[in-house]
Symmetry: C2
DNA sequence: ACCACATCACTAGTATACAAGTTCTATTAT
DNA sequence: ATAATAGAACTTGTATACTAGTGATGTGGT
């Protein structure tokens, strides 16, 4: 597992949570693998308490499974959960983009544009990981500027299932289209056209459907078999 | 605070969480009031650890606010959060009812009908609290039978803001309409008419808008002033 | 009377010790 | 050799002790 630096006012529990999320999404912690609270604690230089609190939180989103007196595990990828996460995200993002297309302050739109420009920069420099972060940031910003930040925070626990799959995909497929998608969304906002916005968002969020089987066959051990 | 019995396999943390939720929604723990981890622990017959874990979870949904080294508080009712919860719920329930209206197994429909019949029973016997539980159960079931149970679980943390307000309302307004609303929703499912379903759900979930100001003026100390 | 400051009681965050249960292993009996 | 059993080494859940920080209170000095 990769352990990153601890930020300023970040308390132990938040630190553990952040590191765990990063490692799970990036598959440094493999689906199905065991997590030892004790081991984790010493790796992070913490005691069990904050680590445990982080694990409990993750278990709420089903990305970690805790079996009392048996052990804790990174959950294998569950297509039903991915599907459900996808449904939730699509439904909410559609609604939010419609809101955004009903009119936004200029500075908020410019914030989004700035993000997309940065994306182009990282794409040209082939920094895929940064690009993905900005992708997430873009969507988060859409929720924030429409006063829906809490919804995003709740949703993000389910999006992890989604993101983990995306990490698998980036190992095979390239990500150029992302920027075009975001440009389309921005256009819709500028034109104040909710229908166009919703369509663009839908396109953006459903592109991945294609390579399901390919990935599943390539990494069968990562998946829950139902 | 009212302390209820501890169920079978329910571990301490879940017990504390359940009791806290019940008391917050029923306003036994008043908005703005202080929660002492120590006090709560001894009331529930637990130590700080499980109680604390429950409080952390509630703080994720903003229904409890934790200020390190200062104290934990039941959050006052925040109209922005209520609005956001309402948006989330309305958006997701619309999508789910459309799914349900695309066809369900007969037994699942009958499960819903059974629920509504029970509602009628409790309404006739004036057991409002049971009625409200069944209302929630009805919506939860809609999510479950469309394979969206995890979404409901995540959402339920935000719905608390909503439910707390509903408790205030039941002190003034009666609840007869609930059953009619649910009958309409059931009709739409039987007729496999998504548009009708969405409309019925929307009506059901937006009825409360009316008495905002009345409640706010009656219990100003319960509200966050923005 | 009022302000400054020390002290005390409280808070949440963390570390650690212990309890209760599971699993694997090794030893012993057949 | 094999099966059963005892036990060691883990697991998470919980209780408790300790730390650092906050706020209120009361006291002493002006």
């Amino acid at each position: 597992m990769k352990v990153s630096e601890r930020y300023g006012r970040e308390i132990g529990r938040e630190y553990a949570l952040r590191v765990l999320k990063e490692n799970i999404v990036m598959l440094e912690l493999e689906p199905g693998s065991r997590i030892s609270e004790n081991e984790l604690a010493s790796e992070l230089g913490l005691s069990r308490t904050p680590v445990r609190e982080a694990l409990i939180e993750l278990s709420k989103g089903q990305i970690v499974e805790i079996y009392p007196q048996k052990g804790s595990f990174v959950s294998r990828i569950d297509w039903n959960l991915v599907e459900e996460a996808q449904f939730m995200r699509l439904t909410l993002e559609r609604a939010v983009i419609r809101l955004a297309c009903q009119g936004l302050e200029e500075e908020k739109i410019q914030g989004l544009e700035k993000n997309v420009k940065l994306q182009r920069f990282y794409l040209e420099n082939n920094e895929v990981s940064e690009l993905l972060k900005l992708d997430n940031q873009f969507h988060k910003e859409l929720f924030t500027i429409t006063n829906k930040s809490h919804i995003y925070r709740l949703m993000s626990n389910m999006i992890l299932h989604f993101d983990r799959l995306r990490t698998l995909r980036t190992k095979t497929v390239d990500q150029m289209y992302v920027i075009d998608d975001h440009m389309n969304i921005l256009d819709a906002i500028r034109m104040k056209n909710p229908d166009k916005g919703e369509k663009a968002m839908e396109q953006h969020l459903t592109k991945h459907e294609i390579d399901k089987e390919i990935i599943h066959k390539k990494y069968p051990q990562y998946f829950k078999d139902n």
